[in-house]
């Protein structure tokens, strides 16, 4: 497949290798992040008038799921401010590794038993159970953001590199999953060059930059999932062997190497969560909303049970049956577990489309709160930009169902293509039949989303 290396453009290379542009953007993001915590703790408790809710769950979320993830994969991680303070402490430096001081902290390796994304998946599911209050109460959003910050600092002081990003961040987990669909990748130009480079400065670090903060050897990268696009390898490779490629979208999904059960389950959890959120938050069922909000009550416990059963048992269980049905239509040289895991990657484009469709609904309806929150971020009666008293105005809501339909249908078609490519890995002329039940599963899920979001 054809790729275009952005690093071949001298200006792009200069911009990306230089630490300052990334550092400045991250500093601005850190200021915004800290201000979101302050606004959440000390600003108005009215979510739609508080910077923390409006900027985190409308502005940032819209930028992330509608733009950053589909187009740039882990592009957000390049500028994420959350690991910055921990890294500063760990590196004993703000900007670069000049002087090569030994890292501060215990520098332990992350436990082998936890080297997966199960913790991230669990963290996401845990947050999802409380999402009704996290998304709407500024104080709770602030506590969650502060918890992320302190966990990242703690992880940097105990473990080497960016352990929080790699193994704990619930947002990073799903960004990694969906970054496989993005048309952008960091890869090496020639693996043979890496093989001859004995020092591996991309992993160990050098005067020019840190060893991969994500603990990844770029020469072995076959998919985006665990590459945080932090650009350190671009700085540390003395052989000019790192490329940032524009590539066909979803190229990683046809990559048979490195498929894992934890990633497969992440796909189910994300798809299932989008389905539950669409029903609870965007549906006309007030009792469901109240149940999701009444933390600790019996209705909430029932909601929790239903949510967990749906995303961890029902959806994977149903998919397992469909995957088995596919194997009965055509022989496979893989065992059932490997088939189940492999075909789950077809849910990546479907899930991404579902999240985009879900987000379109509330982002367009509530984007006008951004102008009010900019002018009066704490809800204290300020009017910095003379837009504090703008009326709530839903934008383009008449077109949102059309957009949602298009996005869902494209996601379905993409999932179908992915499933059939996975089937063809079996190299037998009837292998495509294995993909029939998977396509039907994706069709049923898409119809379900259409019914919830457009129906």
């Amino acid at each position: 497949m054809t790729r275009y290396d952005l690093i071949r453009i001298p200006a792009a290379r200069a911009l990306l290798v230089n630490r300052w542009p990334q550092f400045l953007v991250r500093c601005i993001a850190l200021v915004g992040f800290l201000f979101a915590i302050i606004a959440g703790l000390w600003g108005t408790p009215v979510g739609s008038r508080n910077f923390s809710i409006v900027f985190v769950w409308i502005a940032w979320w819209a930028s992330l799921i509608l733009v950053a993830v589909p187009l740039f994969g882990r592009g957000w991680c390049t500028f994420c401010p959350i690991p910055m303070p921990g890294e500063w402490l760990q590196n004993r430096a703000l900007l670069g590794p000049w002087g090569r001081k030994p890292p501060f902290g215990l520098g332990r390796k992350w436990p082998k038993a936890l080297r997966s994304i199960w913790l991230q998946t669990g963290a996401f599911a845990l947050l999802a159970l409380f999402s009704a209050i996290i998304l709407t109460r500024p104080g709770v959003t602030a506590i969650i953001l502060a918890a992320f910050l302190f966990m990242a600092i703690g992880a940097s002081l105990i473990f080497e590199r960016r352990a929080f990003c790699r193994y704990l961040c619930p947002v990073g987990g799903f960004i990694g999953l969906y970054s496989q669909a993005a048309p952008l990748e960091v890869r090496v130009r020639d693996t043979a060059v890496c093989a001859t480079h004995t020092i591996k400065t991309c992993y160990t670090g050098s005067e020019a930059g840190y060893g991969c903060p994500w603990g990844v050897f770029p020469g072995g990268l076959v998919k985006n999932t665990y590459c945080g696009t932090c650009l350190e390898c671009l700085r540390t490779c003395p052989l000019d062997n790192i490329a940032i490629n524009i590539r066909p979208a979803g190229a990683d999904l046809s990559q048979s190497r490195g498929r894992k059960l934890d990633e497969a389950f992440k796909a189910f959890i994300m798809l299932g969560s989008a389905f539950v959120y669409s029903a609870v938050m965007l549906g006309p069922w007030g009792q469901l909303k109240t149940a999701a909000y009444a933390i600790g009550s019996l209705p909430w416990l029932l909601y929790v049970l239903a949510f967990l059963a749906f995303v961890f048992v029902f959806l994977p269980g149903l998919f397992y049956l469909f995957a088995r049905a596919g194997r009965s239509l055509a022989p496979s040289r893989q065992n059932v577990r490997r088939s189940f895991t492999a075909y789950a990657y077809a849910l990546v484009p479907l899930g991404l489309a579902a999240w985009i469709a879900f987000s379109l609904s509330f982002v367009f309806a509530n984007a006008s709160y951004i102008w009010m929150a900019l002018s009066d971020p704490l809800g204290w009666g300020w009017d910095l930009l003379e837009s504090a008293n703008y009326d709530w105005t839903p934008y383009l809501t008449q077109y949102v169902p059309v957009l949602q339909t298009l996005v869902l249908v494209v996601g379905l078609a993409w999932a179908g293509v992915t499933a059939r490519r996975i089937a063809q890995e079996d190299n037998n002329p009837t292998a495509w039949r294995q993909a029939i039940p998977i396509n039907l599963f994706c069709l049923f899920v898409t119809v379900g989303f259409l019914w919830l979001l457009v129906g």
Partner: protein
Amino acid sequence: MNAQITVASIAHPRLRHWPWFVLALIALAITFMPLPVGAGAPVSHDLRIAASQYNFDPGVIRVNPGARVTIELASTDVVHGLYLDGYGLEVTADPGQTATLSFIADKSGTFRFRCSVTCGPLHPFMIGKLKVGNNTLLWRGMALALFATAVGLWRFR
């Protein structure tokens, strides 16, 4: 000799992509083909919607296309509003009071109505649906989904 000979493979290069043109035409037909918007006389509908925190009751209302709709919004706790997507109409009701909104349902489909006055934490998610005749967008979406699945299986068989 397992090579499969198809019309497309032996056709003039300019004609090799004809199946895709046909498929695109079918997709366009599904997208834009006129569909019945729904039967039923355009009678008047007088509806009462009770608004309480995060719930419209009823949450889903159905009317015939062209009907004159009068909605009496009754707020049972705090101030609530009702903004109707697609129609761009809005009404606000004070606690214990009612307010009325009248309009002709001259656009068919399913339209969300949402609370337009901040009424509590879950306010952005206080949503209901107005269904005017058939939801042709939903049917088109389902048909396109089915078509995409069928084409995919046919193409890769």
